[in-house]
Amino acid sequence: MSERIDVSIEHKHAPPQDGGRPHPNTCPECGSHYRDDELEANLRVCPHCGHHFPVHARERILQLTDEDSFAEEAAELRSDDPLGFFDLRPYTERLAEAELSTGLGEAMVIGRAAIEELPCELAVMEFGFMGGSMGRIVGEKFVRACEGATERGVPLVSVTASGGARMQEGILSLMQLPKTVCAVEDLRDSGGTLISVMAHPTTAGVLASFASLGDVIVAEPGALLSFTGPRVVQQTTREKLPEDFGLAESNLRHGHVDAIVPRSDLRPTVARLLRLFSNGA
């Protein structure tokens, strides 16, 4: 049993076309391969076996919201480098690269939107941006999304995909847990609503803060939702893990999520929740 346990990021985004790895459009469950437009047309769910491929933030927003209803907020925010962090490469370089490869300023996109004509605020994470890790800008954007929801009196819908806190910002990244929690508490005190959609993977610092505080929590099928990832648990305990360790299905059985919603039902389900929390409006 080790006392030196990583409880932060462990699921790093597989770089596209990385040497021995399968092509991102090849289904890891059944091996079927698709053109990008085929996958996109099927909401990035394998038509053959139902495997849910990851969805980038921009595409997720298009899937969920009414056409042209999304108005992005705080798009200009960029992370700085408070610690002058340098591992094998400087943090600033990693940031620049992530921005280049995703076209996003950070690992979360926020803004106002409508779903089946019901107004809401959205906060959608991008796993492709440094493993969806939460640094100060992700925390700040989530707080602003809470504030936007409060100001306009609409529910906040978050879609999470994150390996945890961003260790390149050191202890300041840990502080994003209480920061986002406090924002949810303020939202609640104003009578607001948080609908939490957990996509693959929602782990560590994001699972241990705002994502778990949804009034309602729904998960995508097969999503990994665990504080510590299976590899670290395996290495530490040396037990054989249950087959569905940490997956959405296990979380449902153990009482941590309200429902597992296939992607094709996600938009109508969120719309139904928006109707309920807008009290039939």
């Binding site: 030196r4 408070p82 600033t92 260790m167 202890i171 847990l177 699972l207 153990h254």
Partner: protein, 313 residues
């Protein structure tokens, strides 16, 4: 260290010198120790000094929560159990009289010998432990007792049942509860402040660190394993993410540093307890007379403004 950061640090230091927190140390003739501590903070700790703090924070003779409890509290009564499924020995909760007034304490607890270490799961809480802490917090809130939390946890426990019992959600809910409490909360990191396990009980009005404690988003070994792909590079990782008290103070993550006896708290439990007691007592004094509503509003503002990004890249 960037020039801007250095300026901020010097400003904080001059404030620090006049803080009531350190009065106890000064009055008792500990000026030398104080000066040493200040010197260390002024001079950016070297990579060696950071690693030394990591080692002291994990020192096997370092005082643990119950060592402080027995020295600082009268009429101690330990609370057990989460009222759901278990009593997690890695977390201690209880009521005691501190400087004459009843307070509720929650703290992480490591074991001293092999048997005790196993029983206390090396200080790593299970969800049942956060549950026990939350129950104690609710009791504090109901009765208006101040809450003291002592943090000393390597990290949340990476185990199957810990996940099945929902430790992510438990850590989130513990913070959520702390954000709602209407009673003063003071936290001190007294050893390892490891990741989610630490923050679960650290959403406080005032956060202190002992001189040789560390506060981290991930263990140096974990960070090294991921970023350097070699857990052996822990020293490099620690140097890079700066988990020591001086840096945490500089970054605005903590409010003050609690001095330790030389060469560290393990060398003199009584003196370490006395200094911790001074710091906790003076911290609680700050909040006397503040309404519950103001306390929790200010507490939330504190955490929503910590480490505000100063500029865009």
């Amino acid at each position: 260290m960037a020039r801007e950061a250095e300026l901020r640090l010097r400003e904080q230091l001059s404030k620090l010198k006049s803080l009531p927190l350190l009065r106890g140390a000064r009055l008792s003739g500990d000026l030398e120790r104080l000066q040493r501590q200040l010197d260390r903070i002024v001079a950016e700790p070297s990579d060696e000094e950071i690693w030394h703090a990591v080692q002291l924070a994990r020192h096997e003779d370092r005082p643990y929560t119950l060592d402080y409890v027995e020295r600082l509290f009268e009429d101690w009564f330990e609370l057990h159990g989460d009222r759901h499924h278990g009593d997690d020995a890695a977390v201690v909760a209880g009521l005691g009289r501190f400087r004459g007034a009843t307070v509720v304490l929650v703290g992480n607890q490591k074991g001293r010998d092999v048997k005790e270490r196993t029983r206390r799961n090396f200080g790593m809480a299970y969800p049942e432990g956060y549950g026990k802490a939350m129950r104690a917090m609710e009791l504090a809130d109901r009765h208006g007792f101040p809450l003291i939390s002592l943090v000393d946890i390597p990290g949340a426990y990476p185990g199957v049942t810990a996940e099945q019992h929902g430790q992510g959600g438990a850590i989130a809910r513990a913070q959520s509860l702390m954000a709602r409490l209407r009673t003063p909360i003071v936290t001190c990191v007294i050893g390892e402040g490891g990741s989610g396990g630490a923050i679960a009980t650290a959403l406080a009005d005032r956060v202190l660190m002992q001189e040789n404690a560390i506060y981290t988003v991930i263990s140096p070994e974990g960070c090294a394993a991921i970023l350097w792909r070699d857990a052996g590079e822990a020293r490099k990782a620690a140097a890079a993410f700066k988990p020591d008290a001086a840096h945490c103070l500089e970054l605005g993550v903590i409010d003050a540093v609690v001095p330790e006896p030389e060469p560290g708290a393990h060398a003199d439990y009584d003196e370490a307890a006395r200094l911790l007691g001074e710091a906790l007592g003076e911290s609680l004094e700050i909040f006397e007379g503040v309404s519950g509503e103001d306390l929790r509003r200010q507490r939330r503002v504190r955490f929503r403004t910590i480490g505000q990004v100063s500029a865009t890249r």
